[in-house]
């Protein structure tokens, strides 16, 4: 690894741990034993709120998402509250807190009450293992990638609880859909990440960042197919709009959120963005080299680079949400099993072969760039070939209206002539 110029002076903002450590050590000398732990929690809360939650969650998350989607869809978006409508998310939050949180009479009250709480907890826990900078990771455990996967499988259960407990058939449809989607999309997602794991030979997120730094290449170039699969799967698991069949408002009212109102609904809505941000941060760490930027991290704070990469990824989520139409439930299932899963297996086969070749060459540095070129070409060829094999063809833009049958669309069996 290249030597870093990060010092342990308190004014070196490239590692924010210095400043908080300085404050805590000074406080420990004055305050009685134990108070410093409370102070540490308070500092952590205030700092993360000011540095991360407020700009990311409220301004970039809610506001940016609405304004950017508004721009993509040729409308203005919120522009009344505050300068440029910047205070719109805060106004929304106040409105949500004021609203009554209704519970249907026949609902399962206890489960319906705890479902939003269960939904929020993993979103916070996910950030524990993501490295913001060289030493800026809360829990640098050796299995952090698996930890991320494990914790991100918990919100599915919370959404299921929400959908089932409301005692509403549309909620139950949403719950059904989310559970079946979780089952379908978990396997290609893990297969895609396995590609990155096999290449780096580690399941620690810090280890992956160190790998990207050592070989001066991002995982996205070595494993482009894995990134595409990961992105599609994670949007499906997070219920982002092109694949949000669990709360498809044109089909099943609002899916599992139908009976929720007020801040209970607000928790689901806000944490949807929280999960998308966490998934973006994870993807930035695994595929875009985390807090490193080919040496720039010696001059610019690593956490700024990391946040920039996270939001770059988050912009992709917004982009797909703003431009793509929603898929049907059965199309989504077929896509996961017939398209993404085989591609993930192919990708794993290729990357394992490359890893074997690479280990025979004593992990020569230049070889990784050859692999990157080969993989980019192979990925495009694989996607194209597998799509042709499955009979998917790029749709020609129709110049006149056509019947469903002419367009090759789905017609139920009974209505076929």
């Amino acid at each position: 690894m290249t030597p870093f110029l990060v010092s342990d002076k308190w004014y070196d903002i490239r590692d924010l741990g210095n400043l908080s450590r300085e404050i805590l050590e000074a406080a420990d000398r004055i305050l009685p034993f134990g108070v410093v732990y409370v102070l540490a929690a308070l500092i952590g809360f205030v700092a993360s709120f000011l540095l991360f939650v407020l700009p990311s969650q409220l301004i970039v998350g809610v506001y940016g998402e609405r304004r950017i989607i508004g721009r993509m869809q040729s409308r203005l978006g919120p522009n009344r509250v505050g300068p440029f409508g910047l205070l719109q998310p805060i106004a929304d939050a106040i409105k949500l807190i004021q609203k009554e949180a209704l519970t249907p009479t026949r609902a399962d009250r206890a489960v319906m009450y705890i479902a939003p709480i269960v939904f929020v907890m993993p979103a916070v826990l996910l950030w524990a293992v993501i490295p913001f900078g060289e030493n800026m990771v809360i829990a640098d455990i050796p299995v952090s990638l698996m930890y991320f996967l494990a914790v991100s499988s918990l919100p599915v259960i919370a959404t299921f609880m929400a959908g089932w407990s409301a005692n509403n058939k549309y909620s139950l449809f949403g719950a059904m859909r989310i559970v079946s989607m979780a089952i379908s999309y978990e396997s290609p997602l893990v297969l895609a990440l396995l590609g990155a794991v096999v290449m780096t030979g580690t399941i620690s997120l810090s280890g992956m960042v160190a790998w990207a730094d050592e070989f001066n290449i991002w995982m996205v170039f070595v494993q482009p197919l894995a990134l595409v699969i990961y992105f599609i799967c994670v949007s499906a698991e997070l219920n982002r709009t092109p694949v949000d069949i669990a709360e498809a408002e044109s089909e099943i009212v609002a899916g599992y959120l139908t009976e929720y109102s007020g801040m209970k609904w607000g928790l689901f809505y806000g944490m949807d963005i929280g999960y998308a941000l966490a998934a973006s941060g994870f993807a930035a760490t695994v595929f875009l080299g985390g807090w490193t930027f080919f040496g720039l991290e010696q001059w610019v704070p690593g956490w700024l680079i990391f946040i920039a990469k996270t939001h770059l990824f988050y912009f992709l989520f917004i982009w797909t949400r703003g431009t793509l139409p929603r898929l049907r439930a059965d199309q989504l299932m077929a896509f996961a099993w017939k398209f993404l899963l085989p591609l993930g297996v192919f990708n794993l086969l290729i990357v394992s072969t490359e890893r074997m070749l690479w280990s025979e060459q004593d992990y020569a540095k230049g070889l990784i760039y050859v692999f990157a070129l080969v993989n980019i070409v192979l990925s495009v060829a694989l996607v194209y070939a597998w799509a042709r094999f499955n009979g998917y063809r790029p749709e020609q833009t129709p110049t006149r209206p056509r019947l469903v049958k002419q367009a090759g669309g789905y017609i139920p069996v009974g209505e076929r002539s």
Binding site: D108, V111, I141, P142, V143, M146, Y147, L149, A150, V151, S153, L154, V156, I157, F160, M161, W164, L172, A175, M176, V179, S180, A182, I183, E186, I203, Y410, V413, R416
Partner: protein
Amino acid sequence: MEGFGPSFAFWVLAALTLVAAGGVMVSRNLLHAVLFLILTFIGVAGFFVLLSADFIAMAQVIIYVGAIAVLVLFAVLLTPRSGRDNGETRWALPGILLAVCLAAIFLFVVHDTAWNTVDEAPAGLDARALGTALLTTWVVPFEIASVLLTAALVGAIMLTRSPEEEAEDALV
């Protein structure tokens, strides 16, 4: 296990796991039982973390909570009459008898085993060592297990496909 932290964590986890496991048994509603079961799995994962087996703890959460519990939820939802409670079951008495017998056996084993304690985790518990062991020493049982699972998967799909669905798939 020394110090306040690990002991505290142990007793909290033990209470959580036992209460949740009790909830699985006494809850009348099948879905509540599944949710309690999930809590039990998470408690067991916590015990693995306490034993310095990080990898197994994470695998426990991914497989049991992320996959098996979700599958159980799915099965419960797809089963007709799953919403009924299990109040009028006739198997309460045999069930209690079986539980008492099992508890007696477990108590006997726990009491009679000489439990070794170590100060720190033994080396070779990490994911790398586990993977090396699975793919070198134990590669044949490992591969046979995966083939068996794939065969079961294909068999389940073949058994549940109806002729209409096959006809529909052929057209799409």
